[in-house]
Structures are given as structure tokens and as C-alpha cells.
């Protein structure tokens, strides 16, 4: 039984391994007694950490047309709410935490400042080898001030030479292309070329009532095509350097260039329609990655990352037209200085410059003891300008924010790796400055915070097939510049804004058992979150400001079951129940009458299933035919506090149940692939958000070429 772990360790030291993730992964392969496919070892190792982590094998999905968001939406605890079609705004929530409370990483590098063209709904699934979702308790190697967890997209780091090129075409004039490639010479010079292109008209049909322009009376419900909702995004990445050299296991310099443009069809709901508004963004990101094992001392590993990002993003709302859903318009005579959606016509441009430097030192004293130290520095500068503004504009004077996050962890594991435990502490500090320019006064403002977080994670194999996990973290999220300083206009500053805090607890049981050709995996987790001082935008008529508003208590259970037969049939079912309750007793000095009410506008019960059957050698010895079906369920939920208002009049986001189906055909052992997919099979009226209808039934065809050696 001890042979395989040794073999795996040997493999691990010879091949290129994921940049940062490896520190936590490397020490665990000894558990892999049950694993027969060594190629999946990183995935398995990620899953077996003491942290509550969902690790998704993205390679299984490389023939699908899904983006990373859609994949995440099928896992426990995660809910992604999209406002519309391809490229639409979305909100990501993890166990009840949303927005900036959850942090995103690409190979361990924070993606916060990458710009909207590099968000998870743009990245093609083919870029990822696996996706790790850390729930509540976040390992120190992901150095960030996450309140509720983190998502780390891990790209393929192992294959020396490969080319993965795909193109898909689908309903609503949707096109997606992606290319991922690497070439490594025998002397250790390596070059990566990656890119993607996404386009859609998003002209799907929705159900709307159109009011009479004179009387204001609403007409009957019509099914009408969206006419101003096109989206495109594009990205190119080149990365070159050396691997497996004396001076570095990996040394890479890279450049990412990306851009997107999104037409905006509606305001906050489908009552307000626009025909000219668009948002755009472009990013230029130079990157640096370095890794060296046995750095001066045997057992010491240094990983260092640095990048800068230059992101320009803009909102353009300059039209005086008043559109209706038919696409007709009149030129406004009243309020003609307002844009279609904005109160003031705008050509606003954000000009962001960000820098990141992070280093991780990991020292393996012996097989029992491992120490790691991580430091992460980020700097963000935001400047705004608006060539058509007649009055002061936000960020006219730059707003800067720097954060330092240091983490220290110690891990103990038994030689058999039956038990392991990690204790860690994190120091969060930030300083921010801006000039407060309102009502003619210019006042320089500076704020800084220091907070300490800590946690512990442990796992124990009760039986070879049953692993128990428990983890706890006391964590902080520091306010962002805009949250603290406002934008100099109607978004007011709040110098008293405090960091958000949360106590996160997870307890879980994972089972895995193989009976001949049958493999059964199951997981059940209980989670508890006690969070306070949530930073939320608070509006009072014209003015708004960020405040420490909510305090919540979340408890929940999530489970998943996966059955595999002979690498041919796969069935997976999971579901999540999370109950987030308002634990605030007073609000602005007035009793809070919604105390212990469930937080509204947040899904609390959802689940998904996926089933696939792979027919090998369907027609030839090297082909495979795969049939897949999947589904997603979200229970209806209230837009406002559940206890308030009489039952019949409440606004709800209706229950959703959607089904997808796909057929994939692969030739030459996966070199040539073609997939046909149908999403929203039943053509249901879908809403993730109140009164924002999502696309109906859609078809996609994907062609993919994958070559590697």
C-alpha cells in the first residue's frame, strides 16, 4: 500500500506543478491509496485537504460550451445570479456571502483588479484544469481578506506541449472561440499562448408590458426580442520563461491583454429600456511568476507572483432618446439632460492602476511538520474622468488603497496522513487616501486599519473510506476605497466604516468507496457563519453611503453524491440549504422588527444534478460518444423580508428548474471533438433576479481540437 504514495511523490517532484496550490497539495498525496488514475491526483489531493473545499475537475467539461460561472453554479453552496445572457452582470454568492466578501484567484493570483473582461463569466472552461472552492476557511497561500471563502481557478501546468482550440456557435448569434497552448523545449524554455473571444447578440425573447406614452396605462403582455444587448469580450495572453532550471523550477514573464463591450438593454428591471447605453473595459496586465523548490535549504519552497494591471472601464449614456421595447424611440423634450438610465448624461471613464506582489515560503521540516509564510501586497489607484460632465465627477482626484496581508501557518500530519491539522493566523492591514471634494470643500482623508484573523482546520480518516473534517476561521474583510470615501458626489463618504467580520465554522464528512467497477462518493457538510458589520450600500433618497449594516447568522447543510460505473456512467446529485438570519436587534437606534427573519433576495434552497454516459468505441476503436443531461433547481425566494407584507402581495423570484442536454462525439482519443448542446430544454421563463428575464431554450455546437504529448 505504501508504493503508490512514494511513486506519486516522485512524480510530483519531476513535473511542473501548480504554482501556489502545490504547497497545500504536495503534502497530501500519501492518502491516495484508493486512487487508480494518477492523473487525477491533484484533484483528489485538493479535495482531501482539511479545509472544506469543493474541487471541480474541469477537464471533464472541456467539450462543453460552459463558462466557469456556469460550472460553478452546479456545485454546493454556490449560486450565481445572472441578469441576462452572455456577458450580463452577475452576482456570485457562496454560503450567503456575496460581492467582495468572496475572493477570486487565477492560479493563486487575486483577480480583483483584472477588470470586467476577465471575470468568471468570460473565462472559457478550457482554461481551467480544476476549480477549487474554499468555503469559509481560506488557506494562507491565498493571501486575501476574504470574508466568506475563495474560488481558485487552476490552469493546466503539467503538460509540456499541447494545443487546445475550440469554437462554438449557438442561438442568439452566439460565438465563442478559445485557444490554449504551450510549447516547452527540451532545454526548459517554455511559452504559453492563450486567448478567447466571446460574442452574442443576446436577442432572446422576453415577456413585457408596454405602457402607453400618453396615459401611462400598461398594455397586454407581449413576447418581444431584446434589441440592444450585444456583448463581446476578447483576451490574449502570452507567457514565456523557463522551467526546471537550476535557478528556478519556474520563471515566467507574461502579458494579458483583454477587452469587452456590453450594450445595456435595461435599467434595474425590465420597466426601463435603453437603446444606446453601453459599458466597455480594457485591461493590460503584465505578470511575473517564480517558483523554486529546495530554495537554499532542502525542503524550503519559494513561490513569488507579481503583476500590474492597467484597467480602463467606461459607462456611456449620452442619448436623449426614449426607447420602447419595440425599438422605437422619441427624442426627449423633458429631462433631456438625463441619460437613458443615468440621472446625468455620462461618458464616465475609470482609470485604474493596480499592482500586486505576493510571496509564499513553505518549509517542510519533515513528513510531520510543515510551515508556511505568505505575504501579499496590493495597491490600487482609481481615477475618474468624464469629458461631458458639467459638474464635479467622482474620482476626479485619485483614490488610492494599499493592503498588506500576511499569513503564517503550521501544519502537522501523521506519517500515514490519516490525521492532519493546520493552525494559521493572518494579519490584515490597509491604508487608503483620497480627497473629499464636495460642496466646494477639499479635504484630504486618510484611513488605515489593522486586524488579526486566525483559524484552524483538521481532518481525520475515521476509516479508509470515511474522512471527517472540521475547520474554523475568524476573518476580516477590509473596506474598499470607494466604500469608505464615496465618490465625491451623491455617494457620501463614511470615514467610520469598519472592516466586516465573520466567524466561519465547517464540519463535514466525506465518503468514498469502490466496489469493483462501482464507485460511490458522498459528502455532507454543516456550516455555520456568524458575521457582523456587513458593508452594504444604504440609500436615503438622493444620497447614499456604505455602512456597516447587517449582522447575520447562517447555518446550512450541503451534500453531494456521485456515482461512477466503469468510467462510463456518471451520476451526480447535490443540494444546499442555507438559512441566513438577520441577527441585528437595533437599526439606527430603532428596534429592528425583522430580527431573526431570513435574509431576502437570496436563494436558500437549491440543487443540481448531472448524469453522463460515455460509449467508448462507438463506431471506431478510438472514438467515444457521450450523452449528458443536467439540471438546476432553485426554490423561489422573496425580494424583501419574508415576514413583511401580506402573503398575496409579496414580490418573489419564482422557483426555477432547468434542464440541459448534450451529445459529444470524440475521435482519435479526444483529439477531435464535437458537441451539440441544448440549454433550458423546457424553454422555461427564468429569473435569477426580480423582473430580469433570462434566455429561453438555446442550442450550441462546439468543435474542439486537442493535441498534447
Amino acid at each position: 500500500m505504501m508504493n503508490k504514495p512514494v511513486l506519486l511523490l516522485l512524480l510530483g517532484s519531476n513535473i511542473i506543478v501548480p504554482a501556489l496550490a502545490q504547497d497545500t497539495l504536495k503534502t497530501t498525496p500519501k492518502q491516495l491509496k484508493q486512487v487508480t488514475v494518477t492523473g487525477k491526483s491533484d484533484l483528489r489531493a485538493a479535495k482531501e485537504q482539511a479545509y472544506t473545499v469543493t474541487a471541480i475537475d474541469a477537464t471533464r467539461l472541456h467539450n462543453t460550451t460552459r463558462d466557469i460561472n456556469q460550472v460553478l453554479n452546479h456545485s454546493t453552496g454556490v449560486k450565481i445570479r445572472e441578469e441576462g445572457g452572455l456577458g450580463s452582470n452577475y452576482s456570485f454568492s457562496l454560503n450567503g456571502f456575496t460581492g467582495k466578501q468572496v475572493k477570486f484567484f487565477l492560479d493563486g493570483m487575486p483577480m480583483d483588479n483584472f477588470g470586467s473582461s476577465l471575470s468568471l463569466n468570460n473565462l472559457p472552461i478550457n482554461m481551467a484544469e480544476r476549480i477549487e472552492i474554499y468555503k469559509g476557511v481560506v488557506p494562507v497561500f491565498l493571501g486575501s481578506d476574504a470574508l466568506g471563502g475563495a474560488v481558485n481557478v487552476v490552469t493546466n501546468q503539467k503538460i509540456k506541449k499541447y494545443l487546445d482550440a475550440s469554437y462554438s456557435i449557438g442561438s442568439f448569434n452566439t460565438h465563442r472561440a478559445s485557444i490554449n497552448s504551450r510549447y516547452t523545449t527540451d532545454k526548459g524554455f517554455t511559452i504559453n499562448l492563450n486567448g478567447f473571444y466571446n460574442y452574442s447578440d443576446n436577442n432572446y425573447k422576453i415577456d413585457v408590458q408596454i405602457p402607453d406614452p400618453q396615459t401611462g396605462i400598461y398594455g397586454n403582455t407581449l413576447r418581444i426580442k431584446r434589441f440592444h444587448d450585444a456583448y463581446h469580450s476578447a483576451m490574449g495572453q502570452v507567457e514565456a520563461g523557463f522551467v526546471n532550471k537550476q535557478f528556478a523550477d519556474k520563471l515566467l514573464f507574461g502579458l494579458i491583454v483583454s477587452e469587452n463591450r456590453k450594450e445595456v438593454q435595461t435599467g434595474m428591471n425590465m420597466d426601463l429600456v435603453s437603446g444606446q447605453v453601453f459599458n466597455s473595459s480594457n485591461s493590460i496586465i503584465p505578470t511575473f511568476k517564480y517558483k523554486k523548490e529546495n530554495f537554499f535549504v532542502p525542503g524550503l519552497t519559494l513561490t513569488a507572483n507579481a503583476n500590474m494591471s492597467f484597467v480602463k472601464s467606461g459607462i456611456t449614456d449620452t442619448s436623449s432618446r426614449l426607447y420602447d421595447w419595440y425599438g422605437n424611440y422619441t427624442v426627449k423634450t423633458f429631462g433631456s439632460n438625463s441619460g437613458e438610465l443615468s440621472y446625468y448624461k455620462t461618458k464616465f471613464r475609470f482609470n485604474d492602476r493596480n499592482a500586486l506582489a505576493s510571496a509564499n515560503l513553505s518549509y517542510e521540516l519533515n513528513k510531520n511538520h510543515n510551515f508556511s509564510l505568505n505575504h501579499n501586497y496590493t495597491y490600487a489607484r482609481r481615477k475618474g474622468d468624464d469629458p461631458i460632465a458639467i459638474d464635479p465627477i467622482p474620482f476626479d482626484i485619485p483614490n488610492t488603497l494599499s493592503k498588506n496581508i500576511t499569513g503564517l501557518a503550521y501544519k502537522y500530519s501523521t506519517l500515514s496522513n490519516r490525521f492532519s491539522a493546520t493552525v494559521f493566523a493572518k494579519q490584515f492591514s490597509m491604508s487608503a487616501s483620497t480627497v473629499d471634494a464636495e460642496w466646494g470643500t477639499h479635504e484630504s482623508m486618510k484611513t488605515s486599519y489593522n486586524r488579526t484573523g486566525y483559524g484552524v482546520a483538521a481532518m481525520y480518516y475515521v476509516f479508509p473510506f470515511a474522512q471527517v473534517k472540521a475547520s474554523y476561521e475568524s476573518t476580516w474583510r477590509l473596506p474598499e476605497g470607494e466604500e469608505m470615501f464615496g465618490n465625491g458626489l451623491l455617494l457620501k463618504n463614511n470615514p467610520y466604516l469598519k472592516p466586516e467580520h465573520s466567524h466561519n465554522i465547517n464540519v463535514g464528512l466525506a465518503l468514498m468507496k469502490t466496489f469493483n467497477k462501482h464507485k460511490l462518493e458522498g459528502e455532507i457538510n454543516y456550516l455555520y457563519r456568524k458575521a457582523g458589520d456587513f458593508i452594504r450600500l444604504e440609500s436615503d433618497g438622493q444620497i447614499s453611503r456604505y455602512s456597516n449594516l447587517d449582522s447575520v447568522r447562517t447555518s446550512g447543510v450541503e451534500w453531494s453524491v456521485r456515482y461512477t460505473y466503469d468510467d462510463a456512467l456518471t451520476v451526480e446529485v447535490n443540494s444546499t440549504y442555507q438559512n441566513t438570519l438577520n441577527s441585528k436587534t437595533f437599526d439606527h437606534g430603532i428596534p429592528n422588527y425583522t430580527y431573526w427573519d431570513r435574509l431576502p433576495n437570496m436563494p436558500y434552497l437549491f440543487g443540481s444534478f448531472d448524469a453522463g454516459y460515455k460509449l467508448k468505441k462507438a463506431f471506431y476503436s478510438h472514438d467515444a460518444l457521450t450523452f449528458g443531461v443536467g439540471g438546476n433547481f432553485v426554490e423561489k425566494f422573496y425580494l424583501f423580508w419574508p415576514s413583511q407584507g401580506s402573503a398575496g402581495t409579496k414580490f418573489i423570484i419564482p422557483r426555477q428548474f432547468t434542464q440541459d442536454a448534450a451529445v459529444t462525439y470524440s475521435l482519435q482519443n479526444g483529439k477531435y471533438n464535437m458537441a451539440v448542446e441544448c440549454t433550458n430544454l423546457s424553454n422555461a421563463k427564468l429569473y435569477d433576479n426580480f423582473k430580469l428575464q433570462k434566455p429561453g431554450r438555446a442550442f450550441n455546437v462546439k468543435l474542439r481540437y486537442f493535441f498534447h504529448n
Binding site: L272, S336, W439, G541, G589, I590, P591, N601, A647
Partner: protein, 415 residues
């Protein structure tokens, strides 16, 4: 093996038990049913991300044991609302996110029902035209566009009957200031609209040394004249507040706050009251009440005419007004207000000691019924929000229904 199995199932059992115990703390709130009635109240509550508004009915409000609550009760509104009433119809106007106006009536069982709904562009200031007409004036944001839109809303059919564009007033064709409507009163076939000039982009108010009212024909909506008076500053404030009141004899009294907290960025005159005699198209030169001096430095924000020459008024406490207080009178949890009785004829101000220090409101619609005035008072020092029944003759008040929420922006009674 048997031992293993039992330990294995034990583990699961323990975990499941913990999970069930810990998540079992939640019990959905029990809804209580409220008897309907002829009072219609708008209730603003602490929403999840912003406030949320409910419209509900109540059979009585003048009872300290009664509770105005939206727990299981009331019609949910989609966004922050202005409220208005004409005849037997009460309107809510959702603001910002969807711009929908909904007309409600009360059925025989005392429950609200929807009469109809309309889409609108902007409505910022409301007034009653007649029993079947609500007047709404929309004003542009952003500067560079100066026309306001007067809209007549049919309260029976729930439709916009008439629209008229007007800048309210222009000093000259080169005028680049917006005129923000603050209050509407109809009297003697004329519509009186008070306003204040402001920079549309910055909300700066450069001209605060004159009170302005534009007079239109009603229901023709033709502009007749604009009258001015420099004894005090502009009349009314942002947010559909009551800034003009009609007395029994048709005289109109106007309220000039001259206050930073009311949204002015400078203050150059004393807060006070002017009069327009019944049917006249000019301010009464013989009448001005300097409320600020008479009250020892308080600012008059809004008031209700209670009969017999008495106003029930909300005043901003002396010493609470400076440039940092801008917009401070719009936060219900900012306790800078008190209530007082103003005797228009004797020019006296008498504080109502029974009402605690409290916060200002947007567009508060108080109810005048049988000589009493019912007003919503949100007092953070007192730790509660409550309706008070005010007796203008004695300058006293009694505690009426308790508010489970932030405030009651509007109280109406439909017979």
C-alpha cells in the same frame, strides 16, 4: 466489520444531529392578521438593502396600544415611494427603479385593492387638484434641461389625463438654473407652485434671498405669473413636503425653511411664513411671521393647517444648522426636529412638550381629523417610532399607534 459499521453510522448520526439542532433555530415569523379600516397608512420599514414601503389599512390609529406593522400585513411596494391622495384613491409612486404609480381604493371589507397602475417619467411634487385629480410635477435632474412636467392624474380611471411642459420660471432666456417644485396648492381656479432655484448638477443654491411662487390657471395649466418676496428665502424644500397650506377662508400660508438641513447650500434669510390672500396673485405685504426669531432660532420645515389660524409644525432645533448639516432634515434617524403649534394670527410658537426630539422626513403627509393632527414621529433618543395625536388648541399630544418600522410617510382617511 460490524464494529466498523456501527461506528461509521454513529459518526453520521452525530453529525446529522448537530446539523439538525443547529439549523433548527429558525422558525418563520408568524403572521398576524389585521382588521381593515378606513385609515390608509404608508409604512416605511428597514428593508434589506434599502428601506421598503408598505401600504396598509387600519381601523383606528388614536390608541397607544395599536401597532402599525407590516408583519404579514400590507401591500408591498417595489421601491421607495412618494404617496398622494385624491378623492377615494390613494397613490404610491415607486421612485427610481421602475417609475410605476399605483392607485388603491378600499373595498367594503376595509381592505386595499388596486384600481390601476401607470408608468411615468418623473414625479417629484404632488398636490390635490380636486376629488378626481392628483397633480404631479416632475422636475429634471442634472442641469442643462429646465422644463418641468405638470401631469394631471385621473384618480378614478388611474391614467395620466394631461401633461404640460414648463420651466416654472426663467429669469431670462440665458437662465441656467433649475427650478425645483416644492409644494402645490389649488385655490380659486388657480394652481400655486412654490419652487427654489438650484444648480441642476451640484444642487448648489445660489439664490436664497427670495420666496417664489408661480401661479397657473387650473385646470388649464397656463402660466399666469410668478410672484416673489424678499422678506424670507425660498418656500418649501426638496422631497414633496407640505410648504403651502390653505386656510378656511382661502388664504394660503407659505413656509420658508432657510435651512442647510433642508437641502440649501447657503442661508441668507430668516425662516418664516408669508401669506397669499384668497384669490390674489401676490404675497400679502402686510403679513410676515419671522418664525426663526420668535422661536429663538428654530427653522420651520413643514406644517399642517389645523384650523382656526393654527399650524402644527415641525421645526429644526436651534443650533443644529450649518453647512455640514446639508440634507440632514431628510434622515428620520437624525434627531434634530421638534414639534410646535404656530399661531398665525398672534404670531406665537409653542413647543409641544409631549413629543420627543425626532428626525425629519421626506414628504410627510399628516392627517387632520376632527381638530387633531396625526403625525409620524421617529425618535432615536426615545428609541421608537410612533404616531402622535396633537391637539393644536392646547399644544399637547398623546401617544397614538406605535410604528413597527422607521416611519409612516403618509396617513390618509377614506370615508
Amino acid at each position: 466489520m460490524r464494529f466498523c459499521k456501527s461506528r461509521y453510522s454513529q459518526t453520521i448520526l452525530i453529525l446529522l444531529t448537530i446539523a439538525v439542532l443547529l439549523s433548527g433555530c429558525y422558525k418563520p415569523k408568524s403572521h398576524f392578521l389585521q382588521a381593515g379600516g378606513s385609515y390608509i397608512l404608508a409604512l416605511r420599514t428597514q428593508g434589506a438593502t434599502a428601506t421598503s414601503d408598505y401600504l396598509l389599512t387600519q381601523d383606528t390609529i388614536n390608541n397607544a396600544a395599536k401597532v402599525v406593522s407590516s408583519t404579514g400585513n400590507g401591500i408591498e411596494q417595489l421601491a421607495w415611494c412618494y404617496f398622494g391622495a385624491a378623492g377615494k384613491t390613494v397613490f404610491s409612486f415607486s421612485y427610481g427603479t421602475n417609475n410605476v404609480g399605483i392607485g388603491y381604493g378600499i373595498n367594503e371589507g376595509g381592505a386595499l385593492y388596486e384600481k390601476g397602475r401607470i408608468s411615468f417619467e418623473r414625479m417629484d411634487c404632488f398636490g390635490k387638484g380636486d376629488d378626481s385629480t392628483l397633480i404631479a410635477i416632475g422636475a429634471p435632474w442634472g442641469g442643462g434641461s429646465y422644463d418641468c412636467q405638470i401631469q394631471l392624474i385621473d384618480a378614478n380611471d388611474i391614467r395620466i389625463r394631461k401633461k404640460r411642459l414648463t420651466p416654472l420660471y426663467m429669469w431670462s432666456p440665458l437662465d441656467v438654473l433649475n427650478k425645483w417644485p416644492t409644494s402645490i396648492v389649488v385655490n380659486d381656479n388657480k394652481m400655486y407652485v412654490s419652487f427654489y432655484p438650484l444648480d441642476g448638477g451640484t444642487w448648489n443654491t445660489e439664490y436664497t434671498d427670495t420666496a417664489y411662487v408661480t401661479i397657473f390657471s387650473y385646470p388649464g395649466l397656463d402660466s399666469l405669473t410668478t410672484i416673489k418676496d424678499s422678506r424670507t428665502g425660498p418656500i418649501g424644500l426638496y422631497g414633496n413636503q407640505i410648504g403651502m397650506m390653505k386656510a378656511e377662508n382661502g388664504d394660503i400660508y407659505t413656509v420658508s425653511p432657510s435651512s442647510f438641513a433642508a437641502g440649501y447650500t447657503q442661508v441668507t434669510k430668516k425662516s418664516g411664513i408669508l401669506r397669499i390672500k384668497n384669490g390674489q396673485q401676490s404675497f400679502d405685504p402686510s403679513y410676515f411671521f419671522d418664525v426663526e426669531t420668535a422661536s429663538g432660532g428654530a427653522k420651520l420645515l413643514t406644517a399642517a393647517y389645523a384650523g382656526d389660524g393654527l399650524l402644527v409644525a415641525r421645526l429644526q432645533l436651534p443650533g443644529t444648522d450649518d453647512i455640514n448639516a446639508v440634507w440632514g432634515a431628510f434622515e428620520v434617524t437624525n434627531p434634530i426636529c421638534k414639534m410646535a403649534i404656530i399661531d398665525l394670527n398672534n404670531k406665537t410658537v409653542t413647543d409641544i412638550a409631549d413629543i420627543p426630539v425626532h428626525g425629519g422626513q421626506y414628504g410627510a403627509q399628516w392627517l387632520v381629523e376632527e381638530g387633531k393632527v396625526y403625525a409620524s414621529i421617529t425618535s432615536t433618543p426615545a428609541g421608537e417610532a410612533r404616531i402622535y395625536a396633537i391637539d393644536p388648541l392646547t399644544a399637547t399630544a398623546t401617544r397614538a399607534a406605535k410604528i413597527e418600522g422607521l416611519e409612516v410617510p403618509a396617513i390618509y382617511k377614506i370615508k
